[in-house]
Amino acid sequence: MTLSDWLCLILVPLILTLLAIPLGEFMASVFSGGKNYLTPFFLPVERFLYRLLGVDEKEEMSWKSYAVALLFFNAIGIAALLFLQFIQGILPLNPQKLGAVRWDTALNTAVSFVTNTNWQSYSGEQTMSYLTQMLGLTVQNFLSAATGIAVSIAVIRGFIRKNAGTIGNFWVDITRSVLYVLLPLAFIWSVLLVSQGVVQTFSGYETVQTLDGGKQIIALGPVASQEAIKEIGTNGGGFFNANSAHPFENPTPLTNYLEILGLLLIPMALPFALGAMLKNRRQGIAIFAAMMILYLAGLGVFAWVETNGNPLLEKAGVADGINMEGKEVRSGVVGSVIFAHATTVTSCGAVNSMHDSMMPLSGLILLFNMTIGEVIFGGVGVGLIGLLSYAILTMFLAGLMIGRTPELIGKKLELKEMIMSIVIILSPAILLLLLSGIAISTRVGLSSLSNAGPHGLSQIIYAFASASGNNGSAFAGLNANTIFFNLTTALAMLVGRFSTIIPALIIAGALAQKKTVPPSIATFPTTGFLFIAMLVGVIIIVGALTFFPVFTLGPILEHLLMAAGKTF
């Protein structure tokens, strides 16, 4: 690796941390209802919206009303998105005259964007009109991200409040997420992206003469505005099929790093927001540290494997040194590695390279990032929720081992919190194993595979890990636009999303009702190194125990076979 590679690997987390700390503080003030420098601009807008929607911003909700409002809101989102896809042919802003989207693809896409997954079984430029992209997909990019942030804030309130029956107001939380956090950031990113050459136009596709005399149609569209929120909201749904590998989505090395920064920014800021809202910043730092340790460990292995290249291709004399297969030259190996790592530790799922072409052990890292539930920073909001669920599990074991009813941040962890955090941690894992098992043992599932042997297994696991983890990135190589995959992945996305959000709200409600236990010498401090180490250990062990067999058969076996010179 060159010096600049090393710099990129180190600078990205460093710069992000420096940006995330003030953003976390800012978000804490936004959701605590405090004044900030955007209030003068947005407060009138906020007031107007509440009046328009008939929302009383002072009204507090129990976890049940919060959940009902959220489900209602998301159901409307799915219905609207479905409807839009069916009638896009007769609506304006459709220069390519694209017709109604096939029902299973439309359903999959609606679920996909509302659940912040942005799994795309279609290719954008051939399926979706500009209007659908803007009014449907981009709007949901904002709203699904806002939903995630709102729920994580509700959970934080659960820890803060004492003997309280309420956890905030969903409508207020979601409005503030959009107005104060997502819109300003998306605006900044759009401008920066446009400056680098990301296209933003309503005109139709260009037909151009190529150098060898042939014709080529170049797809265009209002890309930059969607591109920014794609990253900021860890959505990941590309305007084009090639996603961030497409030069109109991600034209330069600078945009490449901008996109990486964008997609990690809010997930990294949330632990700091937690610390600020708890008025216990060390707690936020501890949670952040656990995430960062896992992030750096995975990234280290990943970069090492990719920069060492593929021994078989080297032997054949077609490549040397590094693994460039499936990567854009302008992004380079390290630019692709950091992107791929970032997009799988979060639930983003944008891609700037073909994950399918990564080395087997790199594939293992990507799979691990997703299968542990995307808690290394994770998706906006839900990543923090996932990590807090692991923290609950960790403190349950730790509490028992020091002879006290387990507690976390002053809240006793009892039956309800245990059950719900287990649901959050394990249900995506169980779902992905079951669906992969079904896919791999049925003809309809197997027919979509492009590779045999262990790599084929990795493709299927990756698809369902991506769907149930609401990531949305694809391993490529798998033809997912079939009725079977459209329906199974839609199911995985729905279950994966709501088996995190609803239990999280239940936990928030249960915690808010409890009193806060004052710390004593017998309280295990959850800000120290031991806690961080144990939390990291629990995450790795839970992941390893659940996926050891399938990882052995997939990426590990593939790696060993490759080392022995065998291919499929």
């Binding site: 074991l397 098992g437 791999i440 236990v517 309280t523 065998k566």
Partner: protein
């Protein structure tokens, strides 16, 4: 504290336990423990596979041995539970032994007596007892006073006084009236006494899971479900990779991964905790109370009886004039010779010591009249040959001397003031019109109490002393005993308010009480320990009863509570950590034939695929009986900071749990291959 420990490793306990562990195989019983129930289900399936092998003429050796070891796994788990139950039963029996089933004299409504079997006594029955009678059931003295021998229950040979009205009215079935006539109102129906409740809790049927236990159960069940999914889908993933995995191998993998170690030992750990309570002469009303005691972070203690001995003792004579010292001591001695109060006796002892007349019997002189303490005069003394010696409080003596025309002098005031400032109580001694000096009466700490309070602090528990004394006295005792806080001039309602206040701040509060006016506070406290000698109201409001009536034993309850949780946590961690080694034993074994490259994962380099799977199963079964002593004894607990405790337990049970099975499985594999049994 003395503990009556029963050695469980005797034939009379082990053999019935073995019998019980087979009886417990009944699926209807097993279902109470879902983890082990699933093990039983798959074990039956494996046994059927073995039988099918025999019928089909296939090689049965592998399947049969797997089935056998799976059965052992369940039986070992049942054995641990049965053994813990046996221990508890034996413990309870030893408490119950002396409970006679003799007759009881029941008072009829018309005032006459009838003799009925003690077993027929109902709640609210009133019985009459006199010298030599054994008390047939738990109850409250409603009339009279008696000397009672409680040695059958507490092991304490000194008899105790039980009387109606006060805070010492409770009597326990099985104890004996030495002298006195009392009427007792029975407070429990047959089979409902404290002891019966405790025995029920030890024996399966009425045992309720504590909230912590339930949460742990959920975790274990969730792990089980995940592993079932892992193993079932594993078959299909392997099938896709062209490897057919036998059902019996899948079951072996499943059972090895499932948390059978903790799942199997979980009931035993809870019961053994109860057993330990019994050893320390506690009766717990629920397992919940015991575990909550591990969480307690504030303890409310009465000063009198808990921190100090009940009575004040004389520690110093302070004369007004130096030269009067001898006279003061003499006067104090004379006035106290007939004074039978503990204070009086302590004055006699101190005076004899100062006069150097050890051992010699001194009697009140002929012709003297003793003036006992009376509530009106608030002093006691002696009249003898024209001398009127009185001792009493400042106010009483002030009146006494004023009546003879002398006012209190400044030096006297200074002495009493000094004594009060130091937290003691001054007792003035006057002879006729002259005040000779003062006796310092001091609260005396119970032996070892400050050490115990220090230990509480190490556990993170704050101690709060409650007393009716003035703040000065209270502060002195508090400082001497080393309590963290105190409340002086407390009224009966103070305790309840204090508990509510601490609970409002999020604390879990333990309270020790014996009086009827303690009952509301006991009912409010999270852990309420009542003295067995206390009133019925106190005992009913409490959730733990101390048969020894020794308030300092709270420490033992806290330790037992913590030990139960620690043992569960440690074995859960151990059990889960074990899975890593089992994966490394079983997964490569399944695939090596097809994919020899996977041999790198076989880091134990086990003999063969079959022996690898076998060894993991055997290890999984054998670890249960090996851990039974630990489960019954509990993980050692030493007060330390939470982080230190966790570090130690993580190291022993986490790291140990990770490493040990690698060694164990390798060893078993060597033996299995040496014996060529597979």
């Amino acid at each position: 504290m003395k503990a009556k420990k029963i050695n469980i490793w005797q034939a009379k306990f082990v053999i019935p336990a073995i019998r019980d562990s087979v009886k417990k195989l009944n699926p209807l019983v097993m279902i109470a423990n879902p983890v082990m129930f699933i093990v039983e289900v798959v074990t039956v399936i494996t046994s059927l596979i073995a039988i099918a092998d025999i019928i089909g003429g296939r090689n049965v050796i592998f399947d049969l041995q797997i089935a056998l070891w799976l059965w052992f796994t369940i039986i070992f788990a049942n054995f641990s539970e049965a053994l813990a139950e046996g221990q508890g039963r034996a413990q309870a029996e030893s408490l119950k032994k002396n409970r006679s089933e003799a007759k009881a004299k029941r008072l009829r409504a018309d005032g006459t007596q009838e003799v009925i079997s003690a077993l027929k006594l109902q709640k609210e029955d009133v019985i009459c007892l006199e010298d030599g009678d054994t008390i047939p059931g738990d109850g409250d003295v409603i009339e009279g006073t008696a000397l009672i021998d409680e040695s059958a229950i507490t092991g304490e040979s000194a008899p105790v006084i039980r009387e109606s009205g006060g805070d010492r009215s409770g009597v326990t079935g099985g104890t004996r009236v030495l002298s006195g006539k009392i009427k007792v109102r029975i407070t429990a129906n047959p089979g409902e006494s404290f002891l019966d409740q405790m025995i029920n809790m030890v024996e399966g049927a009425k045992r309720q899971k504590t909230p912590n236990e339930k949460a742990l159960h959920i975790l274990l069940i969730a792990l089980t479900i995940v592993f079932i999914v892992v193993v079932v889908t594993f078959k299909y993933f392997a099938g896709y990779m062209k490897v057919d995995v036998n059902l019996s191998v899948l079951i072996a993998l499943l059972v090895c991964l499932m948390p059978t170690t903790i799942g199997g030992l979980l009931p035993a750990i809870g019961i053994a905790g109860m057993d330990r309570l019994l050893q320390y002469n506690f009766i717990a009303m629920s397992g919940r109370a015991v575990e909550a005691s591990g969480d307690v972070d504030v303890v409310l203690m009465d000063k009198t009886g808990t921190i100090t001995l009940g009575n004040r003792m004389a520690t110093e004579f302070i004369p007004v004039n130096r030269e009067d010292e001898k006279e003061l001591i003499n006067a104090a001695l004379l006035s106290s010779l007939a004074d039978d109060t503990p204070e009086g006796r302590s004055i006699v002892i101190l005076a004899k010591e100062r006069l150097g007349v050890h051992g010699r019997e001194i009697r009140a002189p002929q012709g003297s009249t003793f003036i006992p303490f009376s509530a009106e005069a608030r002093m006691s003394g002696i009249d003898w040959s024209g001398r009127k010696i009185r001792k009493g409080s400042l106010e009483a003596i002030r009146e006494f001397v004023a009546a003879q025309g002398t006012p209190i002098t400044d030096p006297v005031l200074k002495i009493t003031n000094d004594i009060s400032t130091e937290g003691s109580t001054p007792l003035l001694v006057a002879q006729n019109e002259k005040i000779l000096g003062a006796i310092r009466l001091k609260d005396v700490l119970k032996e070892g109490i400050s050490g115990r309070i220090a230990k509480l602090r190490q556990m993170g528990i704050k101690s709060v002393m409650i007393t009716g004394d003035n703040p000065l006295t209270a502060a002195t005792i508090a400082a001497e005993a080393g309590v963290d806080d105190f409340v002086a001039e407390a009224k009966p309602a103070t305790k309840l308010d204090l508990i509510r206040r601490y609970q409002g701040m999020g604390h879990l509060v333990a309270m020790i009480g014996d009086g009827t006016n303690d009952a509301p506070a006991l009912a409010q406290a999270d852990v309420a320990v009542a003295m067995n000698a206390g009133t019925q109201a106190a005992r009913e409001a409490a959730n733990i009863v101390d048969l020894d009536s020794n308030p300092t034993k709270l420490l033992d309850i806290v330790e037992i509570g913590k030990q139960i949780l620690i043992t569960r946590g440690a074995l859960t961690t151990f059990s889960v950590a074990n899975d890593v080694a089992k994966y490394f034993a079983i997964v490569p074994a399944i695939f090596i034939a097809q994919y020899p490259e996977l041999r790198v994962l076989d880091i134990m380099s086990l003999g063969s695929a079959a022996s690898a799977i076998m060894s993991a199963v055997v290890f999984n079964a054998l670890i249960i009986p090996l851990l039974i002593p630990l489960a019954l004894r509990g993980v050692h607990y030493k007060p330390a900071s939470a982080a230190k405790l966790l570090r130690r337990n993580l190291l022993v049970y986490g790291l140990g749990g990770l490493v040990l099975p690698f060694i164990g499985i390798k060893l078993i594999d060597v033996i299995v291959n040496a014996l060529k049994i597979i």
